[in-house]
């Protein structure tokens, strides 16, 4: 066999393998969208879930998912950013920082059901938060922190050393170099990390079943007082999310249209994740331009 034939075989092999990946991905996405999208309607998006009859919607689940996502990011982003900056810029290479890195790696492969049960014991039972949005958001923070931290760390480490030297040579302090030069340069990478983790958070079910709960209490979208039990902003109320709803409808649901509801919910989940990705990307580009453009 000469080099040319071998090259052809290798190329063909690579194309076959990548086709398999593409076919699987499009197969899954296509199947979910084809079977779910026809059942999506304004009625489905704007009405409450029903317990016994057909024709229920997912209004509250959709809102809860978004609310949990936002809360989780608000809690976890500053922590992960700080930890990422520390690991990338300040941490010396010794046993202690190696221990931190190893711990982060182990935590990021922790099964989410374990995180959920841990959150149940700590937040729901020990802290007495009950099945609530705040318990869910804290559990998701635990679930999200390791990945987000190492994503941010990698994004910051990806900024060439020459950029830091150039900043220091201009007389900038270490912190100013990080804030003014390294972080803007790392922003696209950091945003990718946030988008990836947002997708994980949005689709997470196992960690939420025992923390945010599986019931959607009646909520009032005109009540803006976050301390009122019926307010949609109340963090102490139990909240079923889209992903948990899919799980519940399929395991213990007694509604006659369970298949339709779960198909439509799955499609909705995927569409929202895609929209979120596109939105975050646009926001990222905008932010990047804003940080790097001339201020006139």
């Amino acid at each position: 066999m000469n080099a040319k034939t071998r090259n052809k075989i290798a190329t063909a092999g690579i194309y076959t393998l990548v086709s398999i990946v593409v076919i699987i991905l499009f197969g899954i996405l296509g199947d979910i969208l084809v079977s779910g999208v026809p059942h999506l309607s304004w009625h489905f998006l704007s009405s409450e879930a029903s317990s016994y009859q057909a024709g229920g919607g997912v209004r509250d689940q959709l809102f809860n998912s978004l609310y949990l996502l936002v809360l989780t990011l608000i809690i976890s982003l500053p922590i992960a950013l700080g930890a990422g900056i520390y690991l990338a810029e300040y941490a010396k290479d010794n046993w202690f920082t190696n221990l931190i890195r190893t711990t982060i790696e182990i935590l990021s492969s922790l099964p989410s059901i374990v995180v959920g049960l841990f959150g149940y014991l700590l937040f729901v039972v020990q802290f007495g938060f009950g099945f609530s949005i705040i318990s869910g958001a804290l559990a998701l923070t635990f679930f999200n922190l390791p990945t987000l931290t190492s994503n941010i760390e990698q994004a910051i480490e990806g900024v060439p050393q020459a950029q830091r030297d150039a900043g220091l040579a201009l007389g900038l302090s270490n912190w100013k170099t990080i804030r003014g030069i390294v972080l803007p340069a790392a922003l696209p990478g950091i945003l990718t990390g946030i988008i990836l983790s947002a997708g994980r958070i949005f689709g997470e079910a196992a960690a939420l079943i025992y923390t945010a709960g599986q019931s959607a209490s009646t909520i009032d979208y005109s009540n803006w007082n976050p301390f009122s039990p019926t307010s949609f902003l109340n963090m102490m109320r139990p909240a079923e999310t889209l992903a948990v709803h899919i799980w519940k409808v399929n395991t213990e649901g007694i509604i006659p249209d369970a298949t339709i509801v779960s198909a439509a919910t799955s499609a909705l989940l995927i569409i929202v994740v895609i929209l979120f990705n596109l939105g975050a990307r646009a926001l990222g580009n905008h932010l990047y331009r804003k940080l790097t453009a001339a201020k006139s």
Partner: protein, 251 residues
């Protein structure tokens, strides 16, 4: 002639390894001094001592004395920001910040506390002209500096270093990552500028050193072997080893 930077018996070690074994070298004002020598001879390390860029390296120990305008730069009263404003630096890899051209140049000025928009505009234009990059950038000052070619980026970096009006500019192999045409353009720019600024340049390119430098210092294995006027050293090196190096017998 004034000596703007003087150094006396500078030793530098990383942990137990000594990289510079006592270098005493004085730099003339408004001249271009080239530091040459084989790879690993310590010329870049020495250059980075001159604006204290080695400070953050773990386990580093520097002794001896380096004075800038008769002030000990390693003394307790030295303000690092002030020092680096006076002693700027351009690196081997073009390293523009991921901002617009305008902001790249203005960054150092803003850090130095200049707020007057007109003055900043004026300095930006002046520095870009000095670095011979004004023509290419004047119509797209808003464009990201990293979108320019390597040679243009390096000249933007030179302009950025000049904007704060330093007295000395350290150049760490400023053209070794560039193509021959960009390199010679940068050489021409430096030839123009060396009447207004003091340049200290590390280079691997002996022809470059002989073309544009006024003084040359030859370092080897952490020692200063020979120092003198470039024309003298290249024509009549005092030591055999310098002659061998300049003739390409090793290095």
């Amino acid at each position: 002639m004034e000596n703007i930077i003087t150094s006396k018996d500078v030793h530098l070690s990383y942990g137990n390894v000594e990289a510079l074994h006592g270098i005493s070298l004085d730099f003339e004002e408004k001249e271009l001094t080239a530091l040459i020598g084989p790879s690993g001879c310590g010329k870049s390390t020495f250059l980075r001592c001159l604006n204290r860029m080695n400070d953050d390296i773990p386990n580093i120990h520097i002794s001896g004395e380096i004075k800038f305008e008769n002030k000990n730069i390693y003394g307790p009263k030295m303000d690092l920001v002030e020092l680096r404003k006076d002693v700027g630096m351009v690196f081997q890899q073009p390293s523009p910040f991921p901002f617009s051209v305008y902001d790249n140049i203005a960054y150092g000025l803003r850090i130095a506390g200049i707020k007057d928009k007109e003055l900043i505009d004026q300095r930006v234009e002046e520095s870009l002209k000095q670095a011979a990059i004004w023509k290419e950038t004047k119509d797209n000052l808003d464009r990201n500096a990293q979108a320019f070619s390597g040679g243009q980026q390096q000249r933007i970096c030179i302009a950025r270093a000049l904007a704060v009006r330093p007295k000395v500019v350290l150049l760490d192999e400023p053209t070794s990552a560039l193509d021959p045409i960009s390199s010679s353009e940068i050489e021409e720019t430096l030839l123009e500028l060396k009447h207004d600024f003091t340049f200290i340049m590390v280079t691997h390119n002996l022809q470059q050193a002989s073309r544009i430098s006024d003084y040359t210092a030859f370092l080897m294995s952490g020692d200063l072997i020979e120092y003198g006027k470039t024309s003298d050293m290249f024509m009549n090196p005092r030591k055999q080893i310098t002659s061998d190096y300049l003739n390409g017998r090793f290095g």
